[in-house]
């Protein structure tokens, strides 16, 4: 909701503290979560995340949340999806170029960042383009998974194919690891893939059926 979104940005400092606290708490639970299985947790957590962040920040479930680096203003609400804003089209009074009735997401972001403890330091980080495969998945779990994997130094969990992005956007990788994820994604987190998976299951079933007939 637009008014709630603006409220959250005005209180960015408070949300920064809450986010930090929650992250610390859940990070301590990383071994437990790993035990339960991130794949099993994915769907239920994503539902809770979508409902709560949807209400508070108009979250679009990009799966790569960087709210702490954008003054608690969700960049996916920018009609140009800019992750390093604002663009050069901001209207007088700080309104959006594309949707003139809306405050510019990035004007709000910089104002929100100013009120935070580490906001201005973090909004200066160069954010990478997002991975569209991760849309709809839980960013909360991704943050814990990435930070947990960094702590574990469990190299086997990290996907070498993604390392160039992590090098090119090294600062973002360090401070917002979910924006440049390296850990292997649980199947349930790849929405597109799970659709393909269903199709492939279907095909293999029909193949088996074919074999049985033979």
């Amino acid at each position: 909701m637009y008014s709630v979104r603006l409220f959250c940005i005005r209180h960015s400092r408070g949300f920064e503290t809450i986010y930090k606290g929650l992250e610390k708490f859940f990070l301590s639970l990383h071994p437990v979560l790993k035990g339960i299985g991130y794949n099993r947790l994915e769907r239920p957590v994503a539902v809770v995340e979508k409902l709560s962040k949807g209400l508070l920040f108009d979250c679009k479930m990009c799966g790569q949340c960087v709210l702490s680096s954008t003054g608690m203003s969700c960049p996916m609400n920018c009609p140009k999806n800019i992750r390093n804003g604002p663009c050069g089209g901001v209207r007088d009074g700080g309104f959006c170029e594309v949707r003139p009735e809306m405050r510019c997401v990035w004007v709000e972001a910089w104002n929100g960042a100013k009120n935070m403890k580490n906001g201005l330091e973090r909004i200066r980080i160069v954010q990478p383009p997002i991975n569209r495969e991760l849309r709809g998945s839980s960013s909360w779990l991704r943050v814990i998974r990435e930070k947990g994997a960094m702590k574990d130094a469990s190299k086997g969990q990290l996907d070498p194919a993604k390392s160039e992005m992590a090098q090119a956007f090294a600062k973002a990788r360090k401070l917002e690891p979910a924006a440049v994820p390296l850990a292997r994604e649980p199947e349930a987190a790849l929405a597109e893939q799970s659709v393909q998976e269903q199709t492939s299951v279907h095909t293999s079933q029909s193949q088996t059926a074919g074999k049985a007939e033979q």
């Binding site: 009609p79 140009k80 999806n81 800019i82 992750r83 390093n84 804003g85 604002p86 663009c87 050069g88 089209g89 901001v90 209207r91 007088d92 009074g93 700080g94 170029e97 594309v98 510019c104 004007v107 910089w110 104002n111 200066r124 160069v126 954010q127 990478p128 383009p129 569209r132 194919a161 390392s163 160039e164 992005m165 090098q167 090119a168 956007f169």
Partner: protein, 327 residues
């Protein structure tokens, strides 16, 4: 009309200076001029709605006399025209330096990384990374807006291609593009207090030069430059101030209402309104702006955008005297 390599077929290796001078990123004239400490001039070419190369060369004619590089816009204002890549390639054939503009609105990361290799192979030395106007303001508002990159993530990607010799995926390039990387700035538009910060982010992402949007409000721009100097940014990046001749008060009003990101103060509109010959007054105003920009510490050159008034560009630069030290 400027001359194209002839006779056909054109030899693509004839004019491609692939090796940049020592300490340079590219073989572009613009980079050489800026690194020498000379006051640089770039000019925007209005792309034709045509497939005839002569239309490009004709439009370039008044620009080549004075410009160190010619910017080929990439469907600016979300209006469809000949592509930036086509124009840059034609200018390369004609032996002219150009700036390949990339808007993130129309192409995704796969297309853009490939295009940059393409223009670099055509001998284009400069690339300007832009987020781009929304599709809604253009002639085809129903188009799909892509915005896979934004200007800053695009800059970092191209820097990675150039300096690390890899695509963003990590796949190796056999020959990286030797390009001088540019970005835009819009110093006179909200949020004024964060504009210098955003420029700093572009420098951090990899920008070597900056071309600003139109500046008609010198006071606001001076304050912006003060912030730039405070951060020492003018020593890390070459800043070219954007200027252009206005045709009339009516045109000025139309521009500031209909083109995103343009701020024209009332004093400028009033001055055009009061003039007997608004076209001449707009030109005079532009000459004054060029001269003022020259005086501002940290401004390395001007970028002239003369929409439908390209024929004035050489006269404006010559009258301003900013190139007098070139001879």
């Amino acid at each position: 009309m400027i001359k194209v390599q002839s006779p056909e077929p054109y030899d693509p290796l004839s004019q491609v200076p692939l090796v940049p001078p020592k300490g340079h990123h590219s073989a572009s004239k613009l980079e050489r001029v800026l690194r020498k400490g000379l006051f640089a001039v770039t000019a925007e070419l209005n792309p034709p709605d045509s497939a005839d190369p002569r239309d490009v060369l004709k439009a370039a004619e008044p620009l080549v006399e004075v410009a160190d590089a010619i910017n080929a816009t990439d469907a600016s204002g979300a209006n469809c025209h000949m592509s930036s890549m086509g124009i840059c390639s034609l200018l390369s054939r004609a032996g002219q330096g150009s700036v390949f503009q990339i808007s993130c609105r129309d192409r995704n990361r796969i297309a853009i990384q490939g295009d940059v290799l393409g223009v670099a192979a055509m001998g284009v030395g400069n690339v300007l990374c832009l987020s781009g106007d929304g599709v809604g303001v253009g002639d085809q508002p129903g188009a799909k807006a892509v915005f896979d990159f934004d200007a800053i993530s695009l800059l970092r990607t191209l820097k990675t291609m150039r300096d690390e010799g890899v695509f963003l995926s990590g796949r190796k390039l056999t020959t990286p593009p030797k390009i001088f990387l540019g970005a835009a700035a819009n110093p006179c538009i909200q949020p004024l207090e964060w504009r210098a910060e955003r420029l700093a982010k572009k420098v951090q992402a990899g920008a070597d030069f900056i071309q600003t949007n139109y500046i008609f409000d010198v006071d606001v721009f001076e304050r912006f430059m003060e912030n730039i100097r405070k951060e020492g940014l003018h020593k890390k990046v070459f800043i070219l101030a954007g200027v252009g001749p206005l045709a009339s008060a009516k045109a000025a009003r139309w521009m500031r209402t209909n083109v995103p990101g343009i701020h024209i103060p009332d004093t400028v509109v009033d001055r055009l309104e009061a003039a007997d010959n608004p076209g001449e007054e707009g030109k005079k105003l532009c000459i004054e702006l060029v001269q003022k920009m020259r005086q501002i510490e940290g401004v390395a050159g001007v970028h002239i955008m003369a929409y439908r008034r390209e024929h004035m560009v050489n006269e404006i630069i010559e009258a301003s005297g900013v190139l007098d030290d070139r001879q």
